[in-house]
Amino acid sequence: MDAFRQLDYMNLDDEFSEEELMVRDAIRTWVGERFMPTVAEHFEAGTFPTEMTGELGELGVFGPTVPEEYGGAGMNSVSYGLICQELERGDSGLRSFVSVQGSLVMYPILAYGSEAQKREWLPQMASGQAIGCFGLTEPDFGSNPGGMLTTAKRDGDDWILNGRKMWITNGTVSQVAVVWARTEDGVRGFLVREGTKGYSAPEQKHKFSLRASITSELVLEDVRVPESDRLPGAIGLKAPLSCLTQARYGIAWGATGAALACFDEALQYAGERVVFDKPLAGFQLAQKKLADMATDITLAQLAQLRLGRLKDAGKVTPAQVSMFKRNNVHKALEVSRICRDMLGANGISLEYNVGRHMCNLESVITYEGTHDIHTLAIGHELTGIPAYR
């Protein structure tokens, strides 16, 4: 197979600034040269290439929109989107790692943290010296986090946390966990440090999706957290939800990256694979699939760019982000399934990328609000009537 060639049917490259294109190309090159050679091995072994976190920090992908004074690069949201796209072109696990670090841990510290918390955590997280995770989901509460059972009770100057979180990306390898817990006054966020007594983060194994990503349970048994490690600005469930809006924005771009990878692989494969004496690409059935996929990907590209420009103008709404987390992931999953099919038996081999992306996207369509939950969010926006329960 030749090097990755990105579909740009509507010449959208013209719409990006030189700097945005440089960002994209820098990440694309790194992913191609450094990440792709070993991703299939990691996927098979069920490991994340943790040895690359330093390099990722040097590249600057952790919290790139964080201001420079806290160790970020002060980039715009379109650049962040392009970063997510290129990372997920490699693997959804890689993008997840970066989404969690930047959007789910650095973002709440920046938005809701004290000055001391920002100074302590943001620079070391930007460089990759410290890894963070975000604990919202529980065994019994996923789509409805408002029902969470994890509690935080005041004890003098401290808080005592009890509960369990599930499906927490990076839990096992994190130095800090943003844990959301119910207090007498509603939901609050806490920075729980690795090694705190009563806190552990065992890894959840046996996944068939997002295998090159670490997923963990967080166990909290009488965990004592000082008031200084509570996020002072985070009041109520809207705080964790605002983090999810940041991450979902990146996912809308990321999913397109996975779709672009699958499409390019299938297009190249169809051009080379001879069936019944001519290339697969020369058959009408294959061309219809390619035409449909290229159209879906192009529409996703147009939408994410608009979303990014709105975000940079400070005008994007959570409901708009919902629409394209939902659409772009759904379309990417469909594209990956069709591409998987077009590669025949090779499509299930880890020597190709389509099967890996297809498995990964099953997680991406579930986390950060399932497809159906975003359907309800859009419905709510359109009708004004919440239909979640």
Binding site: D2, A3, E18, E19, P64, A73, G74
Partner: protein, 250 residues
């Protein structure tokens, strides 16, 4: 140290070359560009030299204004300023007129060492570097794979047919860079942000008529399809015969 890195914008390695209708050049429509592979090594060596000896790295190119993207990438990787010697007909310049224009600028900048790629990956002439040294009247070591620079002299290793040669030279000098000299760094996002604030200047390239001109470009003939000469142990004999009598390589 006043360090200059010369780069050329070339078509992406994956570009499928097409010849224009007049048969004199390659069709550039739809072509995407990158910094020539060996020039990236030159830029890396320039930045490493600055990191060791101090000073400033200027990235210099002759080309169209839209080479700014490549220049900015070099700035993102640690160079300090960029200069594009603009010339609409830059692609038609021969190596000598290119070298002469570069030499004039290097002189004006007060450069003390120039790094260039061993060759540009589009034309593969491998002559601009040595010609530049000639115009400047400087020392020149080509195809360098190892380099130790000090304030006024240096030691360079280069690979030749005969083996690895070690040169001692005095500065100023032109060094052309071979593959193994270093591993170019990636542009980080902070570097990209910093690059925005670094100066990129466009000035017309010194006029200089070319003495050599490309009159015809032909793509290499398509490779003939392969042939299976036999299967299993029988193949050995058939292959030997084919290699001896047809390919005449044994």
């Amino acid at each position: 140290m006043n360090i200059v890195a010369c780069i050329k914008r070339v078509p992406m390695t994956e570009t499928q070359a097409k010849v224009t209708a007049d048969g004199q050049s390659l069709d550039t429509s739809g072509v995407e560009y990158m910094t020539s592979f060996y020039d990236e090594i030159a830029v890396e060596e320039a930045v490493k030299t600055k990191e060791k000896l101090g000073g400033e790295v200027t990235v210099l190119t002759i080309g169209p204004s839209d080479a700014t993207k490549q220049i900015r990438e070099c700035l993102a990787k640690g160079s300090d300023k960029g200069i594009i010697l603009t010339d609409d007909a830059w692609a038609l310049r021969d190596c000598r007129s290119t070298a002469k224009a570069l030499a004039a600028k290097v002189q004006e900048l007060g450069g003390e060492v120039v790094f260039a790629g061993r060759q540009a990956t589009d034309r593969d002439n491998a002559s601009v570097g040595p010609m530049l040294a000639t115009y400047l009247g400087w020392a020149c070591v080509t195809d360098v794979i190892e380099l130790e620079l000090e304030a006024d002299k240096g030691v360079a290793k280069r690979e030749s047919e005969a083996g690895v040669e070690t040169y001692e030279f005095s500065l100023p000098a032109v060094i052309t860079c071979q593959k193994d000299l270093n591993e170019p760094r990636y542009a980080g996002l902070k570097g990209i942000m910093a690059a925005k604030k670094k100066p990129v200047e466009e000035v017309p390239a010194a006029e200089e008529a070319s003495q050599a001109e490309v009159v015809r470009v032909e793509l290499p003939p398509a490779r003939k399809e392969g042939r299976v000469v036999g299967e299993g142990p029988d193949a050995v004999e058939a292959l030997m015969t084919a290699l001896q009598t047809e390919a005449k390589v044994l």
